[in-house]
């Protein structure tokens, strides 16, 4: 027995709400239930009390604008699909909305054709929602997700994010044809993405023009990757010259990172199951640095949320003695010290490498 999907429409103009309530209610094949709200606060309380498949909202609204509603909705309801429907033709707002995790950004249709395209996109969003499985920003096994896409003979692009690191997998007619991540392409990129233990993913529209670089079947790819991961886990990893006490995974990772060009120190602070752990290399007294790092990341995180500018990606500091970069990778906050003469480009590349190593 399928449950009727609910769509919540948010706009400060009643005429608009009445029109779209009728259009969406009559022209979508799933015949979803359309509910409306005139204010952001009303919409948020409706989201609190019932489960919605989709939120369609305007940007320009009094008291609480669309970006504010989006920020709260994204944080509280990560599974909720969100579409902006606005008259604001401003590239900056569009990129901010995407940075904040909106699914689609539409200018309010002015012609029949535009209306048709809009309805079609809503239909697609809802049908992907009703097929269930692993859509949206979920923490699910990547293997499951890839298998689902391939078994259903889909064509799509999977965008996988892990903190500041991102990768993509191209799927065409149920076959994995290419992958891209942290400077790698093709099968190596696919294998690297599958080593990421946590993160989020999005299903993007297919890219039919993408040339095929992977010719192994998806079952073969998954098998090869599983074998490679097993082999890596059973290998004995050589320790670095630094005074690392125990051969834990993180400790070995720190040792590897310390070998990268320009790295002077590494500090990693994690919180897992309310337990705080700290690992470091190349720094005698990590506490002041870790206090500074955690304070700075938290403050800039909060500021980013209030400015509605999307996720904090990285903080880079330059001083007379060294450069410092800070970023989050899953549960871990990383602070890496670099030689003062390392160029900003080299620092950025090295930090990307460090983050990709950390997430794997």
């Amino acid at each position: 027995m399928s449950v009727q999907q609910k769509i919540l429409l948010l706009d400060d103009e009643q005429d608009f709400l009445d029109l779209y309530q009728e259009m969406l209610g009559q022209h979508l094949s799933m015949l979803p239930e359309i509910r409306t709200a005139l204010t952001g606060s009303r919409a948020l309380s409706m989201l609190e009390s019932d489960k919605y498949a989709l939120l369609i909202l305007d940007l320009h609204m009094p008291k609480m604008d669309g970006l504010q509603v989006l920020a709260i909705a994204r944080r509280k309801y990560p599974e909720l699909r969100v579409v902006i429907l606005t008259a604001v033709r401003d590239e900056q707002f569009r990129s901010r909305a995407y940075a904040m995790g909106v699914d689609q950004y539409w200018i309010k249709p002015e012609t029949d054709q535009e209306m048709g395209l809009f309805m079609e996109s809503i239909e697609t969003l809802l049908s992907s929602e009703s097929q269930g499985g692993f859509r949206g920003v979920h923490s699910k096994s990547l293997v499951d997700i890839i298998q689902l896409e391939c078994l259903s003979q889909s064509s799509s692009v999977l965008k996988i994010s892990n903190g500041a690191v991102e990768g993509r997998i191209w799927i065409q007619n149920g076959e994995v044809i290419d992958a891209d991540a942290v400077g790698l392409t093709s099968e190596p990129a696919f294998q690297r993405i599958l080593t990421w233990k946590t993160g989020s993913f999005e299903v993007l529209p297919a890219d039919p023009g993408r040339p095929r670089k992977i010719f192994t079947s998806y079952q073969g790819l998954l098998l090869n990757t599983a074998q490679a991961l097993d082999e890596a886990a059973s290998q004995v990893v050589a320790q670095s010259d630094s005074d690392v006490a125990a051969a834990s995974d993180s400790t070995v990772m720190l040792a590897e990172i310390s070998q990268l060009r320009g790295v002077e120190f590494v500090l990693a602070c994690s919180v897992r199951k309310k337990k705080k752990t700290q690992e470091f290399w190349g720094i005698e007294n990590p506490k002041p640095v870790s206090d500074w790092m955690e304070g700075a990341i938290e403050q800039f995180d909060q500021m980013g949320e209030s400015l509605q500018v999307g996720q904090l990606q990285q903080i880079v500091g330059t001083g007379p003695q060294r450069k410092v970069a800070m970023a989050r990778s899953g549960d871990t906050r990383l602070c890496v010290g670099f030689a003062a003469d390392l160029s900003v480009d080299d620092l950025r590349d090295t930090m990307k490498t460090i983050l990709s190593k950390w997430v794997s």
């Binding site: 320009h60 901010r96 904040m100 200018i107 249709p109 002041p288 304070g295 700075a296 800039f300 500091g317």
Partner: protein, 106 residues
């Protein structure tokens, strides 16, 4: 009737465009100069300034004095340079690079 017609439309939202520009702060966090548009809320500018000064101050306390700070968000980059206890802060909104979603009708 006639009176109600004056109250036709509710106040438009405070949807704020991220400005591109700079401002300077003294060591106490007071805004000295600014090239940011007046429509950008003072409170936001002060909040940015407070975060920046705090980061410089605590870095110094941690024996890692910094002269420059770059904070990267998905849609904004903030560059701050320490100036004798205060700072000059540059705001640089990112140009939109969208994911491959069907977007608008333009």
């Amino acid at each position: 009737m006639g009176l109600l017609s004056f109250i036709r439309r509710t106040t438009r939202s405070k949807l704020v465009r991220l400005p591109s520009g700079s401002f300077t702060l003294d060591r106490d966090g007071n805004i000295m100069t600014s090239t940011l548009p007046q429509g950008f809320p003072q409170a936001q500018i002060q909040s940015i300034g407070k975060c920046v000064l705090s980061a410089f101050h605590h870095a110094k306390k941690a024996q890692m004095p910094l002269s420059e700070l770059i904070v990267n968000y998905s849609a904004l980059r903030i560059l701050a340079r320490e100036l004798r206890g205060g700072a000059i802060v540059f705001l640089m909104p990112s140009s939109g690079a969208q994911p491959g979603r069907r977007t608008t009708n333009d």
